[in-house]
């Protein structure tokens, strides 16, 4: 967490992350180009580069889209999520390089402006096989640019979380557009079934991973059906909650994280104010509930971030009866202090 905005708050982990990512991208490009030159001596450098960059961008987007659900499956993937925006920006840069080279190669030095040529060169929209695949690529590139340009927390704060989140869900639209870009473009000429197979495998991986983790989320989001008394709902035994961790239950349609720490139990919203991260999968560190995604922190008793930070989440009344934790499903205003229930 930082108070002042910086383009990138560099630390050792970020440097390692970016170095590994850049190494992976350069390795991919180098292997692609060398393989192309060895197996197809007739190819030109610019054509090979255009295909290598485009393929690299699409593959990296597959990785970007895998990170979120993988973290739901195994939290040890979380370091990949913490700096995911760096990977998103790298995806855009690869795509922009692909698009830029293609623009020069296929549309420059003609009788109209290259950008006009992209939009008006092939306008056969009547037949799917002849549809201008470049439009899908351009559309995806614009979306990737918007997401890369607004990936910083500055934009999250100023666009507001709902707008920012909706904008960044556009990554799925960009992915779909790029699938169409590939299917209606290069796959109309390169007809190897293996190429179709690789694309299909990637799509099946992304779709399968999202469906699987979505199904698990959906199962977890079912309304908790514990006993009720005085408006409180019995959620679990104290012993069911690991020390400094939480048990997440759905009450009144909201995910509530019930944390056990320091001989006490507190309940607060499980949705982090930063990027809607799963606060209930976080940990109490130095007395603060800490989000597993980007480390945003909240006091368990108040749901408020420590000064000078201003984020806060709703809290819930909680009590312990006979070793069982009871939570009132009505949320208090974000930052409202609630006396924690003492264990024993």
């Amino acid at each position: 967490m930082t108070l002042a905005y910086q383009a990138i708050s560099w630390n050792r982990q970020k440097r390692v992350y970016d170095t590994v990512m850049a190494g992976g991208v350069l390795t991919f490009l180098a292997v692609f180009v060398v393989t192309g030159l060895v197996l197809h001596s007739e190819i030109t450098a610019e054509a090979l580069l255009i295909r290598a960059l485009g393929t690299g961008a699409f593959l990296l987007l597959n990785v970007v889209l895998s990170i979120g659900p993988l973290c739901r499956v195994d939290p040890r993937f979380l370091p990949m999520l913490y700096n995911r925006r760096h990977m998103g920006v790298a995806t855009f840069l690869l795509g922009a390089a692909h698009g830029g080279f293609a623009l020069v190669q296929f549309h420059a030095l003609g009788d109209v402006n290259p950008l006009v040529s992209v939009l008006t060169g092939n306008t056969d929209v009547q037949r799917l096989s002849e549809f201008p695949f470049e439009w899908f690529g351009l559309f995806a590139l614009v979306l990737l640019f918007l997401m890369a340009a607004t990936s910083h927390d500055f934009w999250l704060a100023n666009l507001t979380a709902p707008v920012w989140k909706a904008l960044h869900m556009g990554v799925y639209l960009a992915y779909a557009a790029l699938v169409l870009h590939v299917v209606l473009g290069v796959l109309q000429a390169e007809t190897s079934p293996w190429l179709v197979g690789v694309l299909g495998l990637g799509m099946a991986w992304i779709l399968g991973l999202h469906v699987f983790t979505g199904w698990r989320e959906w199962c977890g989001d079912r309304e908790h059906a514990g006993a009720t008394a005085d408006g409180f709902v019995e959620v679990c035994a104290v012993a069911d909650i690991p020390e400094n961790r939480a048990r997440v239950v759905t009450l009144g349609g909201e995910r509530v994280a019930v944390f056990r720490y320091d001989g006490k139990v507190s309940a607060l919203s499980s949705v982090c104010r930063h990027q809607n991260g799963p606060l209930g999968e976080g940990c109490v560190v130095d007395g603060f509930v800490t989000c597993p995604w980007h480390g945003y922190q909240y006091l368990p008793e108040t749901g408020a971030s420590p000064p000078p930070f201003t984020e806060s989440v709703p809290t819930f009344a909680v009590k312990i009866v006979m070793g069982q934790v009871w939570v009132h499903p009505r949320p208090n205003a974000p930052g409202t202090r609630v006396e924690p229930a003492k264990i024993g």
Partner: protein, 250 residues
Amino acid sequence: MSAPFYIGYNAKMPPATAAFLRRWVVALFVAGAGVAVALAGLQHRYGDGQFEFGIVKSFDGIISESPYPNLIVRRPIGTDAKDVRSRVLLVAPGKHGAQELVRGLEGRAVTLQGSLITRDNQSMIEVRPGTIAVQAAAVAGDDGVPLGNFTLRGEIVDSKCYFGVMKPGNLKPHKACAIRCISGGCPPVLVVRDADGMAVYFVLAGSDGGAVSSDVLDKIAEPLEITGEVERQDNVLVLKAEPGTYRRLE
């Protein structure tokens, strides 16, 4: 047992998490390299044309402007054969034909400089602007030899890219570029393949023998059937038909 808790702004990640990720990163690198080899290897329809980019040579011949600018030379480019007329299509740099460069030079003997583009038995010169020097007065050109009416199936390409400037220079990925090139005046050519896959090239002209560039822009890079009169102009085959009669093959 829950996994060690990771916080991104700490100096180091938990060792167990680091060990876990190291294995996955290695796997990702190997998988990425494998995908790169597979995808680069499986894409192969690039074409074997040659463009002598940056190599400028001098050529002598007689200019013919119709249906598209070409240079009539006394031997096929690149061979030692004598006393054989050969036509070499001319284009300008970029996605442009050479119409402006040779305007008014019909039948004139010239020397010009340019870079050679070749594929199969086809030759083309990208003319360097400002290098055409007229050597002699106009002479009467030879008429073409009619070979009869034929129905041909193939794909319209822009000859400049297909003969060697672009890899690939045909099919859907190159469609927009071909539209741009033909719109700019590069000769449209119908590529017809025989049963053995050998390509035969037909320069497209209207029924009056004139250029058809702007009339074929919506018919490029897709399977077509064209019925028309084929005329041999030295080594070049010209297919004369009105673009409105071209038939799309589904």
